[in-house]
Symmetry: D2
Subunit: 307 residues, 4 copies
């Protein structure tokens, strides 16, 4: 029951994974989101954990693209991880002496204000993950940087690293949403009443009208969008698909009917899953959009048709 995740050990992704499988031992760190998807699709992992959205940086393009194309996968669960950053080095030293600092570019973007104010002299050295730069320092080899920005879990696990500054993120409320992905034949998660459904919708024409027709499928059934992001298909400038989160579960009648409408007008719409919201916030549904309202209306039409 291997679970692949965006490693190495100590990343925020691992923290997300430990939320759903705290005592598991078969966790497979991989070096990129596509690698995690490949492990899942090729059967080397039963499931995978990857980041999908950050409150500061937005959607994680690598994930949005990887789940939109290729063999279908399903989101089984979502997890929220607060994002905190520490500045670490091989030994304690004044901030003014930091010459070169290494971290992942997404992390760097989230501490820019702090670094400009506190270590403006430091050069930035890109790393392939937030853990990589710090782990390089924990070894004894020669590296091009003398400080790194990483998750608190890394510095906690590596007491040999000196923490020069804690909690240096520009936005103290920053949070990243992760998803637990399974194969396309995984059982559908049960409806909890506080669910989310994720879709991939191709925009079949570059016009305002096409997007409005899509949105109408949701609005006429009282289905709320909690996230909508455009991503290029890669074909040409202006050719997009949308990655969309809606409130509710496919077992909710209003969601099921919106999907029927959507599928009619966009036959290549992709369903990525219905799953419990991490924040347990239930959708507010008007009376005429409840399951009961759908059932009664259908029974009325059904009776008329069989007369």
């Amino acid at each position: 029951m291997t679970i692949a995740y965006l490693g190495p050990s100590g990343t925020f992704t691992q923290a997300a994974l430990l939320q759903i499988d705290p005592h598991g031992t078969d966790h497979l760190p991989v070096s990129s989101v596509p690698a995690a998807l490949a492990a899942l699709r090729e059967g080397r992992a039963k499931s995978a954990v990857v980041p999908i959205e950050n409150s500061v940086e937005g959607g994680v393009s690598a994930t949005l693209d990887a789940v939109a194309a290729g063999p279908e996968v399903r989101i089984l669960a979502e997890m929220l991880v607060p994002i905190r950053f520490n500045l670490v080095a091989r030994e304690p030293k004044p901030l003014g002496e930091v010459r070169a600092v290494s971290t992942h570019s997404h992390a760097w973007a989230q501490v820019r204000q702090w670094t400009e104010e506190n270590i403006p002299q430091a050069e930035y050295i890109p790393a392939s993950s937030t853990a990589a730069g710090a782990l390089a320092l924990s070894g004894s080899g020669t590296v091009g940087h003398d400080a790194a920005i990483c998750a608190p879990t890394i510095s906690a696990a590596h007491p040999e690293l000196a923490v020069l500054a804690e909690n240096i993120g520009d936005n103290p409320q920053a949070v990243t949403r992760f998803v637990h992905l399974g194969s396309a034949d995984a059982p559908l998660p049960e409806r909890t009443g506080a669910d989310r459904t994720t879709l991939v919708i191709p925009l079949w024409a570059d016009r305002a009208g096409a997007l409005m027709e899509i949105l109408e499928q949701f609005s006429t059934r009282g289905v709320n969008l909690s996230r909508i992001e455009s991503r290029p298909t890669g074909n040409y400038l202006g050719d997009y698909f949308f990655s969309v989160d809606i409130d509710g579960h496919i077992q909710d009648e209003r969601v099921a009917e919106a999907l029927v409408g959507l599928r009619r007008i966009c036959p290549t719409t992709r369903f990525l899953g219905s799953y419990a919201r991490a924040d347990r916030k239930a959708a507010v549904v008007a009376g005429h959009h409840t399951d009961g309202a759908f059932t009664q209306a259908r029974e009325w039409v059904s009776a008329l048709r069989t007369q």
Copy 2:
């Protein structure tokens, strides 16, 4: 198998009735639309024929109101009758000598231009039907008018009447649509591919938005409106319901689904029937609104839900 109709014999309504029951003998002329509906609802007639829409005068309010309230009825068929008018009198005479002319107010409205040009001196005497004024002349009693405007069928059936002028309608293409009404438990007419569905929709709030929500239920499923008329509920100024004709049959998936949506937002929506169009004009339906598109989309959602 009595069929009530807006009489007396010789009206355009009788002509419509003869289209669907040319050799029937059990035809019951009644004096008003409400009387025809009463005969049907009280079981004295098995069905009824009444006018619903005239190309010049618009919807027939008496019919629209009578079918919108009270026990439910169903439209089983529609019939079109071209509207032609003759001017008749007891004996031949010059048009300049006509003093007073009698006919139904709707007929009078449709010959105003001709009468102003040809018999401007004549006083108008309202009658309760287009036949009544002429039939009064065919008898020997004293009447207040010396000419009448009626259907050609009346003058043909009463050779004792002199025809002073033929085909005097202002609009030679004028046509009236009649409906054959049955009880609410009558079998649903079969789908022919060129059908019409008639609805009564209450407007639950006096705002543009409410009407748009109603129309959206049709437009998102590619259902065309061929007639929409507002009628007061009688409660207060500005309180309306809509009488609506849409293209298609309740057995068409796009129509059935639009009705489900409509019933959810307007639980008192009334279904008046699906029936063959008299003009046999088939609806033009885009690929993603066909029955096949609905079926495929539903199967997709259904498979996802039962996984």
Copy 3:
């Protein structure tokens, strides 16, 4: 300064006229709505008063059609008149002895319930106005009816008539809205803050989409519809125009901009006037639809364009 009105003296229309010109003496009764419009358009009257909408019977087709075609006219004011009916005869007698009752067909429609319960034996004799049937009884000539249904003002003005029953309308709240019409070059009534604007809008195609495009012009500017009625153009079945009342004055920016949008998509849209509401009810306008919001937004765009 002649004012034409739908007469004769004693009609509800005269009551409406007396609201705006209580002491005027140059009041010209005419026999029909088209006659009132003709008097105005041909200069025989400076203005005209006609009914436009009844809370029980709906829009007055003769008026809606007369102002929609022909030379343009303007609505200068609206007046509300409560509708009450009395049953009168030449001398007092029991209701059971009434044989034939005369009134205008619209009035007859509004007392049907009372008449069916109280004088079911009486034959209905159409009259050209609510006053005509009663006035015929007040004379000494032979008439075909022995009772009439008229406005209380008629029975008050003719004490020789016996009132057999008072206030016999089926709906005690019934009210009719009248309009005071002037020529197309009449000065625009001032904005009061509680105004109404009346429009004639051709429906250029028989589809739900066309009507939605029209409504959208109002809804995107927060303009509410208080009345919408379809009327046939007379050309063929299903060819309609809409008669529409919206809340607000053309001097309100949101109304002016909606009219610009409407005129672009329906170049034959006709403006019938902006005038004070008889009920003095002010429109509720959201912050982003106020004149101030329009002005600020325009100034922003204007500054950007002239940079």
Copy 4:
């Protein structure tokens, strides 16, 4: 007249800059998009050139975010640059001997397929630009990588570098769009008939309805969207703004009016400029959305208001 650009010399951004200023000498390479914006806003540069959208990778988040917040700037022009990649090393060698390859993460994403097929053994070393990794190899110092992926301009300018493979991008049609930014008081570029307008629109509520209201402002005026991207505001998950390109120039009446509507409902809408499209593709405009249609409709309303 300094122009800042995302350097160093040899980047695709420089190629874009040379399109608009081929003989200029005052070009200031900076290390990041925020640095380019800072140079412009602080007056150290008169204008700046940065990438905004890539046909494979989508919107350039750093640019979208940098122009959305802070002092206003204006887009003066756009430039398209085809994206080609070369693999270079210090000396010629078989692909199988490449151990570690360095480039910017966006470039890496665009050659993944080629690298997996041709140099699967190579480790990826992130660099801060596509030029940086190659330039490090052109020097004599010790570096952690033995190959780099860069623009053809870099390898052309540095004959000391050996080109191991040419044109290795996964999508041979890949193109990046760059923008030439000026200060907020720069003169508005003239209308050419083939223009684009870029906007930043906050989404004021997390619901489908809000986005539909925004889109409606465009669709009711026939304004087409050629790009729409959501970006997080950074405040919390699900709080977005939209970066939008529309067809047309603010001097087009339909665009100006859409902006007025948008500004009313989103008072913090930001105008980023109207400028000529690099592909010179003119917008297709229906008759009722042309400047002439707006002018005629406004004159009609204006005449009615001043009567």
